[in-house]
């Protein structure tokens, strides 16, 4: 039953000239699940996503997407990048419909969908603005619509909310959970915020500090859904999980501090 696993990393390593970022990573992301990857800064979370997206080949090991070996771009995935990735020369609307345009769907056919998404991410009055005219949070919202509008089976998200204020963040997290619940997508979500990882996910994978970082544990999160992101952080089960995972993660964060200071 190959299609049970959306993303399978088997013994994956990635070395850059003079530096091994990740080593011997084996990780399964079950189809339809929400999996978060946490780890200290610079441990190789983005590198992992880039490999799973087919943007760079692993140095060792193999990657399977729904049971098929991955070569070249991962056509079944959408990717919300850590850095700004909107096309600065396209308006909010044109950025959002870009993926549809690439698939040969004419602007008048995608108009309704575009309207929906623009409303959904709360940018009704900004559809003709250019990215430089938006705030950082608004740009992230455009990127979110841009990624989800093409309806990929897998969505990779790399610290999408790291730069947002608490309120916007909560709103976007709720929105992501709703989107995910409505569809049967697989989400692989990178964050360095353990609370966020637990609150959103079915499973949390913890990476060790680099170089050559490994997976030190994959923790199932058995909190019931739908979740209320405002109250969940005081739920006793949440606190239990947090304590367990943090005990392991803490070691790695301390190692990473020691190495960089």
């Amino acid at each position: 039953m190959p299609s049970d696993i959306a993303v399978r990393l088997s013994g994956v390593s990635k070395s850059f000239p003079g530096y091994t970022a990740v080593s011997a990573i084996s990780l399964d992301v079950p189809a339809g699940k929400f999996l978060s990857v946490v780890g200290p800064s610079g441990c190789g979370k983005t590198t992992l996503l880039n490999m799973a997206a087919g943007l760079m080949p692993p140095s060792e090991g193999s990657i399977e997407i729904f049971g098929a070996p991955l070569s070249g771009i991962n056509r079944r995935a959408g990717y919300m990048f850590q850095q700004d990735s909107l096309l600065p020369w396209k308006t909010v609307r044109d950025n959002i419909t870009l993926g549809l345009q690439f698939r040969g769907i004419a602007p008048n056919e995608s108009a309704e969908q575009a309207e929906n998404w623009i409303r959904r991410v709360g940018l009704d009055h900004f559809s003709h603005h250019y990215p430089h005219q938006l705030s950082g949070g608004m740009r992230k919202r455009v990127a979110m619509a841009q990624t989800w509008i093409v309806d990929p089976d897998i969505v990779f998200m790399d610290e999408p909310f790291a730069a947002l204020d608490v309120h916007t963040r909560l709103r976007m997290e709720t929105e992501i959970l709703n989107l995910w619940a409505e569809t049967s997508k697989t989400v692989m979500f990178v964050t360095h915020d353990l609370e966020e990882a637990i609150a959103l996910s079915d499973e949390v994978a913890v990476l060790s500090a680099g170089p050559a970082s490994r997976i030190i544990g994959v923790y199932p999160v058995d909190l019931s859904r739908p979740r209320n992101l405002i109250d969940i952080k005081t739920d006793p089960r949440f606190l239990d999980l947090y304590r367990t995972i943090w005990t392991d993660l803490k070691q790695e964060v301390l190692k990473s501090y020691a190495r960089t200071s």
């Binding site: 997206a53 943007l55 771009i73 991962n74 056509r75 995935a77 959408g78 990717y79 990048f81 850095q83 700004d84 990735s85 909107l86 096309l87 600065p88 020369w89 396209k90 308006t91 870009l98 993926g99 345009q101 690439f102 698939r103 250019y130 990215p131 430089h132 841009q146 093409v150």
Partner: protein, 263 residues
């Protein structure tokens, strides 16, 4: 749209220009400068007026403009095409690299006599000279612009399903446009200079020819009149390019596309 501070600066700039012209005029009138070598602003102005009134200027102006526009268009087309091709094909870029460097290090003026022999006294020898100037400026900028595309934006477009053709159209060209435009500002000016130099060295029409004729009879006023007309033409064409740039680069933050005039 000029900010108030810009407007007061413009007033200062005009005042400086007027002061320099007045000093020149006064200096010549008082006999500090020799009128034979320096002419006078008032004489130059009336000569320019006379050239336009008599209509003799039009054929020269038109010739120079046609040559400049042709060399600009041909040079830009070739430069953009070559820039894209080499930026996307590593092998070709490495292959041509030394030859492009050698060709670009050659002072263009030395080519003028060769082009006169090859293409004759008419407009094409000037166009050829202009093309060699414009091509390299546009080529290097396009090449750089395509190479400097933000890899995250490129990857994003790839993940959204862009084909190679769509990448070029939606990512590479718009991204390189900033670089291409900054090269257009410079190359339009250089195109005019190159064709005028070509005309100066051998032609039967054109502003450069007019200047060399005036120089031949020690008519300083005529030389300055030609220079004045040339300067106005370069500024006017430059501001046209600036307008086009502002239209096409609307998506850029305001501070980076309000560069004016000077290229």
């Amino acid at each position: 749209m000029r900010a108030p501070r810009d407007r007061s600066m413009l007033a200062w700039q005009l005042a400086l220009g007027a002061a320099m012209l007045a000093a020149w005029e006064g200096g010549v009138r008082a006999g500090v400068f020799d009128k034979f070598f320096f002419s006078r602003p008032s004489d130059i102005a009336s000569r320019v007026a006379q050239l336009f009134a008599a209509g003799t200027i039009w054929v020269h102006l038109a010739t120079t403009l046609i040559e400049a526009i042709l060399s600009f268009l041909i040079g830009v087309t070739l430069g953009v095409a070559a820039g894209f091709l080499l930026a996307r094909r590593r092998f070709l870029a490495d292959l041509f690299d030394p030859y492009l460097r050698v060709a670009n290090s050659l002072p263009r003026v030395v080519l003028a006599p060769i082009f006169l022999l090859w293409f004759g006294l008419g407009i094409w020898s000037k166009v050829a000279l202009g093309v060699t100037v414009v091509f390299f400026i546009v080529f290097f900028n396009t090449f750089q612009g395509v190479r400097e595309v933000d890899p995250v934006i490129l990857n994003n477009a790839r993940m959204l399903g862009a084909s190679e053709k769509q990448l070029i159209r939606h990512v590479l060209i718009p991204s390189a446009l900033t670089w291409i435009f900054s090269s257009l500002h410079i190359s339009i000016g250089f195109a005019i200079i190159a064709v005028v130099v070509g005309e100066y060295l051998g032609a039967a029409k054109g502003i450069g020819y007019m200047i060399s004729q005036a120089e031949g009879v020690f008519d300083t006023t005529g030389v300055f009149a030609g220079m004045t007309i040339l300067a106005v033409v370069v500024l006017a064409v430059g501001s046209l390019v600036g307008n086009l740039e502002r239209r096409l680069l609307r998506w850029k933050p305001a501070h980076s596309n309000t560069r004016e005039g000077v290229s």
